[in-house]
């Protein structure tokens, strides 16, 4: 069964008017001829107004080309027949295979890991990296409608998203206690390390840095201090860094990409940095750049209370902390028993295959034919 993912793409077929106009308008380019015997021409032999098409086969080829192009734009897919296969059992990757097999008695079923590509359970357990909800939706969409699916999940699920799981079929939802030593995600995060690097000029900025850190710790987690001169090495694990030591060192970008959060003063204003805070007069004070997993905040001036009125604003420490921290990650954990998928999702259609490559090949062949036909040497040209 052929379906279109983007039926609006068929609007591209409106381009058929272009070759039609080309082939019809050429009709009117009448040649001017000097003809002294014109007086013997009949008054009534005006050119017939009937629409005539020049090179109908070329026109047909061009229309076909545009039709196929519009079809490609509409993203056609071929849906499978949907014959039910053997039931599937999907096992979350942070469970042990043996525990899963013990929990469900389905010897004839297809046992798969709930991981990208759905590898067989006999293989090694994959690393649980992909969002579980997305994988479940993919399995639901790819499997034929009649296939029964059993999902074995641990007691606590991560990788959920804001949408409650809704699948096209009713799945058997089994919750199994984790046996392996899984790090308790609820454990408090390790204390944050706040590194400060300063040079001679940065000495004057240290009081404000201390004040900021003190303000942050009033209602936030405690911080470990790492205050050193400019040349001291940065901690290997990226943390927070306040750089009041002039130009940034060359390796800092990689450090930020790995997750470092840096506030650097006295930096040249660079391109691609969004201004995130201005003072009352509208002058840009603070610019931010996202680099990989980290962020880089730069000040053009020194980090001195006297340098800008914005530094003395009551909400400045909190705003600066929010900027360094970045947007909070949405909650994605829940007890598995409470997020069993609802069966009222989009109906399952089975595996789909894109017709795009075949149509693209057809389009290329049509284009080649059109070029050959349009540029061929005509006998009567």
């Amino acid at each position: 069964m052929i379906a279109l993912l983007a039926p609006a793409g068929l609007a591209a077929a409106a381009a058929v008017v272009v070759p039609l106009i080309i082939h019809w308008v050429r009709r009117s380019d009448r040649r001017l001829i000097s003809f002294a015997a014109m007086r013997y021409l009949s008054e009534h032999a005006h050119p017939r107004e009937r629409l005539r098409v020049h090179e109908p086969w070329l026109l047909l080829l061009r229309l076909l080309m545009i039709a196929v192009f519009a079809l490609v734009m509409a993203l056609p897919i071929l849906r499978g027949k949907g014959d039910a296969t053997a039931p599937w059992v999907l096992v979350a990757p942070n469970l042990a295979a043996s525990a899963a097999r013990a929990a469900v008695a389905a010897p004839l079923a297809e046992w798969r890991w709930l991981a990208p590509g759905f590898p067989r359970l006999e293989g090694p357990a994959p690393v649980a990296a992909s969002p579980l909800a997305s994988l479940l939706r993919q399995a639901d969409a790819d499997l034929p409608p009649g296939t029964a699916v059993t999902v074995i999940v641990p007691e606590e699920l991560t990788g959920l998203d804001a949408e409650r799981l809704r699948l096209g079929r009713a799945v058997a939802w089994r919750v199994v206690a984790e046996t392996g030593a899984v790090a308790n995600p609820a454990a408090p995060p390790a204390a944050l390390t706040l590194s400060v690097r300063y040079d001679a000029a940065g000495d004057a900025e240290l009081p404000l840095v201390r004040a900021l850190a003190a303000a942050w710790q009033v209602d936030g987690p405690a911080m470990q201090w790492d205050i050193a001169a400019r040349d001291a090495p940065l901690p290997t694990t990226p943390g927070w860094l306040i750089w009041i030591a002039g130009p940034l060192p060359p390796g800092i970008e990689e450090w930020v990409r790995r997750g470092g959060r840096v506030l650097a003063s006295r930096q040249a204003s660079g391109a691609g940095r969004a201004v995130v805070r201005s003072d009352a007069s509208g002058t840009a004070v603070l610019s931010a750049t996202e680099l990989g997993k980290g962020r880089l905040l730069t000040l053009t001036g020194p980090l001195l209370a006297s340098a800008s009125a914005a530094f003395s604003a009551p909400d400045f420490p909190r705003a600066l902390r929010d900027l360094l921290r970045g947007p909070p990650t949405p909650p994605d954990r829940a007890p598995a028993a409470s997020v069993a998928p609802l069966p009222n999702g989009p109906p399952a259609h089975g595996p789909i295959q894109s017709l795009g490559p075949y149509l693209a090949l057809l389009l290329a062949l049509l284009f080649l034919g059109e070029r050959l036909m349009a540029t061929r040497i005509r006998a009567n040209a």
Partner: protein, 290 residues
């Protein structure tokens, strides 16, 4: 204006045959109007003082006891005038042979006529009738005039519309009594038969050559065309295939009408189609077998 060699060789068989008495100066090959010493007896006349004694018919004197002088017809050369229609419509050429316009064809016909005339010792001149007036290549005979004639022909240009009756006066002044006038035109101008009739009525022998292009004869147009009259600038949009049958009928009727009208004045009219060799129409018109 080079005559192709094969055409030139075929021209040797052509002759001007005049109906009227030739009136040129000097000795020629045509029966002339002037009398004098010669072979062909014309008349006796009474002796007048000053006649040469050797021209007196002494045997007649013996019989009649009076002095008579024998007079014979003198053979004179013919004066041939080629009148070329040099209006703008003559610039038309077939698309298949764009460098061979009707005007070029007319000049080539004139060159062929000059070749024939000069071969038989007649004098020939050319008059091009344009909208601005008359272009003249003066009358001349003999082999030494051939190059002058050809250069004069080369200088003729065409343009404008057919002049009114006033324009004919110059033509009629030039073309003397008893001379032969060959009119080469495309036959689209209403003044042309009038000129031919006037000349014929005034004791000139007139021949008419009509130049017809292949496109006019066959009308091979298919599709939309804008036809423009080169002289009036009038335009007419027509579909070639649809207009063909009607055009051919009307054009053939017009040509027939022209031929009939000229024949009524004793002017033979022969058509020259641009795809013919130029000696073919000359052969038809000079032999009188059209």
């Amino acid at each position: 204006m080079l005559i192709p060699p094969d055409v030139r060789s075929r021209l040797r068989g052509l002759r001007f045959a005049n109906r009227l008495h030739a009136n040129g100066r000097g000795l020629g090959q045509h029966r002339g109007r002037s009398r004098g010493a010669g072979l062909e007896f014309e008349q006796y006349r009474a002796y007048e003082i000053g006649d040469e004694p050797r021209r007196i018919d002494w045997k007649l004197y013996g019989r009649s006891d009076r002095l008579f002088v024998r007079e014979a017809t003198r053979d004179s050369p013919l004066n041939v005038w080629v009148l070329i229609d040099a209006t703008a419509s003559m610039a038309q050429a077939d698309a298949s042979r764009p460098d061979y316009s009707k005007f070029v064809a007319a000049k080539l016909l004139a060159a062929c006529l000059a070749e024939v005339a000069l071969l038989q010792g007649d004098a020939i001149g050319v008059i091009g009738i344009t909208g601005d007036g008359v272009q003249l290549v003066p009358l001349g005979g003999g082999a030494r005039n051939r190059d002058r004639l050809l250069i004069g022909l080369e200088r003729l240009v065409c343009g404008g519309r057919w002049p009114g009756e006033a324009g004919f006066a110059q033509v009629q002044e030039r073309v003397g009594v008893d001379s032969l006038a060959v009119i080469i035109s495309d036959g689209f101008d209403a003044g042309l038969p009038v000129l031919a009739e006037n000349l014929a009525a005034a004791r000139r022998q007139v021949l008419s050559l009509g130049v017809v292009s292949c496109e006019e004869r066959d009308f091979p147009f298919a599709g939309g065309f804008i036809f423009r009259d080169p002289e009036t600038g009038a335009e007419c949009r027509a579909d070639g295939a649809a207009a063909r049958a009607d055009f051919l009928t009307r054009f053939a009727a017009a040509r027939r009408e022209l031929k009939t009208r000229l024949a009524q004045s004793g002017v033979p009219h022969v058509e020259y189609h641009l795809d013919e060799p130029p000696d073919a129409p000359l052969r038809r018109i000079l032999s009188g077998a059209d």
